[in-house]
């Protein structure tokens, strides 16, 4: 095989070649320092290009686009309309909902909230629940939430959003976890928040923290699993908390201790 052209080298870097040609180019790269340098340059410029546009994904989506996505009926939606829609969505829901239905609704709700400028001050107080016991269902569903929002395919386009500067977020850096963003969602008719922490260490994997604005009494930590996702949940001071991740439970337990302390402070 002759020396790969830029076109073939780029196709190689993009993972678009068959096994044979990929092996041939890999062999060329081992032998040819100039080709390695060229591949490095092309990889670097591609990485820069991705970085240059990734920030768009982290921007709040403008309200007018949210309205456009909802169609003509919502085109004239005002903040009041959106608040009303949010309140309507916040009504208690039936318990037979599957976990994968909730993310779609949550995405829409979170999108609405983000679209009008994410702020705690605009979130309505939730009416007290009178006929639901939401915590068990919410906690049971968390494994599904974790899988959904940490999967590159299913989570596409549902970027987590930055919070206002004055919003205090638990710091899990001592555990090697970086805060990536948050989503507001409704869990069984109550306001809840989903915090995403990630790490380069795949053994630790992403960790998600859930805070639900509901509780039917304090209780200690309960451990459960959903597939390969571990869930630690507890209730304290009128809130339901949970940590989910594929990492082992000892690690999650340590994070729980830290989180419980920080949440008390917050």
């Amino acid at each position: 095989m002759s020396k790969p052209t830029d076109e073939r080298l780029i196709a190689y870097l993009d993972g678009e070649l068959g096994d044979d040609e990929r092996a041939q180019i890999a062999h060329w790269l081992e032998q040819d320092a100039d080709l390695r340098e060229r591949a490095g340059e092309l990889s670097e410029s591609a990485a820069l290009l991705r970085a240059a546009f990734d920030e768009v994904l982290r921007e709040p989506v403008p309200e007018r686009l949210m309205a456009a996505a909802h169609g003509p009926a919502a085109a004239g939606a005002t903040l009041v309309d959106l608040a009303a829609a949010r309140e309507q969505r916040a009504k208690p829901r039936t318990r037979e909902r599957r976990w994968w239905v909730a993310p779609a609704a949550a995405a829409a709700i979170a999108g609405l909230i983000v679209g009008i400028g994410i702020s705690r001050s605009v979130l309505p107080e939730q009416p007290a629940a009178t006929n639901v016991t939401p915590a068990p269902s919410f906690v049971e569903n968390l494994g599904g939430y974790y899988v959904h929002y940490t999967n590159a395919d299913t989570s596409e386009g549902t970027s987590f959003d930055k919070l206002p500067p004055n919003f205090r977020v638990p710091d899990l850096k001592p555990w090697g976890l970086e805060f990536r963003g948050a989503r507001f969602l409704m869990a069984e008719g109550h306001e809840a928040m989903q915090l995403l922490y990630s790490t380069d260490n795949k053994a630790l994997g992403p960790v998600m923290v859930f805070v639900g604005n509901f509780s039917d009494g304090d209780r200690g930590v309960k451990f459960s699993t959903s597939g390969n996702v571990n869930v630690l949940s507890w209730r304290s001071h009128g809130h339901t908390y949970a940590i989910t991740g594929t990492v082992n439970t000892n690690y999650l337990w340590n994070i729980h201790n830290d989180l419980a302390y920080q949440f008390d402070g917050i």
Binding site: T5, D6, E7, I10, A11, Y12, L13, D14, G15, E16, L17, R22, L29, R36, E37, A39, G40, E41, L42, S43, E44, S45, A46, A47, L48, L49, R50, A51, A52, F53, D54, E55, V56, L57, E59, V61, P62, R64, L65, M66, A68, A69, H70, G71, P72, W100, V101, A104, A107, A108, G111, A152, D153, E156, G157, T158, S159
Partner: protein, 207 residues
């Protein structure tokens, strides 16, 4: 510098409630609109990124995305079950953009609001990173439109050559050659502008 090929995510066809859009009865217009709307909301950030790369302007990009949403809702019946909704939307965005390019003698205005906003107290390292990213965005705008679109679809959004070819309505070989020309040209521009001399770590600092 790593030279291993990228591991593209193993993308799956639409499934579950996403695929149900196409299976809804056409008479259920309201239900269908709601379902398409949910999917539109989910793909909005990526549409905005794609449009930003095509137009080079935040305002024009959002106008383009808004027009695409409106077109998608009025033509929801044209969405084919079993195909990717995001690809369908990218195709609509690109089609509208090309129509706009043809309709007017496009003279790109200076970017209005997406210029570099540098705070006086911003650390120097971060300023450099932002400048580098701004150079990249400007370099992209110097490329021909079809190369720009190919770069945004494959290099930025991570679509396969086949998926990008379907969106662009051209053979895979055409996408491959457009990408190659675009990547080489971009790399040359960045090298000339000095962006590649700034470390990747600097760029990460911008995150």
């Amino acid at each position: 510098m790593p030279v291993a090929p990228r591991n593209k995510p193993d993308r799956q066809p639409l499934s579950g409630n996403e695929a149900s859009v196409g299976s809804l009865p056409l008479s259920g217009r309201v239900a269908m609109s709601v379902s398409v709307s949910d999917q539109l909301i989910a793909v909005l950030p990526r549409m905005r990124r794609f449009a930003r790369g095509l137009t080079g302007s935040a305002v024009e990009a959002d106008d383009l995305v808004q027009a695409a949403c409106e077109r998608a809702l009025t033509r929801a019946h044209q969405f084919q079950e079993g195909t990717r909704f995001d690809s369908w939307m990218f195709r609509i965005v690109q089609t509208i953009w090309i129509d706009q390019l043809r309709a007017r003698d496009t003279r790109r205005e200076e970017a209005e609001d997406e210029g570099v906003h540098l705070g006086t107290d911003e650390p120097g390292r971060r300023v450099e990173a932002r400048l580098a990213l701004e150079e990249v965005r400007n370099a992209l705008q110097d490329l021909p439109p079809e190369q720009r679109a190919a770069l945004m679809l494959v290099t930025v959004d991570g679509l396969s050559y086949k998926e990008a070819a379907e969106i662009a309505g051209v053979p895979v070989g055409t996408i491959m050659s457009r990408l190659a020309r675009a990547r080489v040209a971009l790399q040359a521009r960045l090298e000339a502008g000095g962006s590649l001399r700034r470390s990747t770590e600097d760029v990460k600092a911008d995150g």
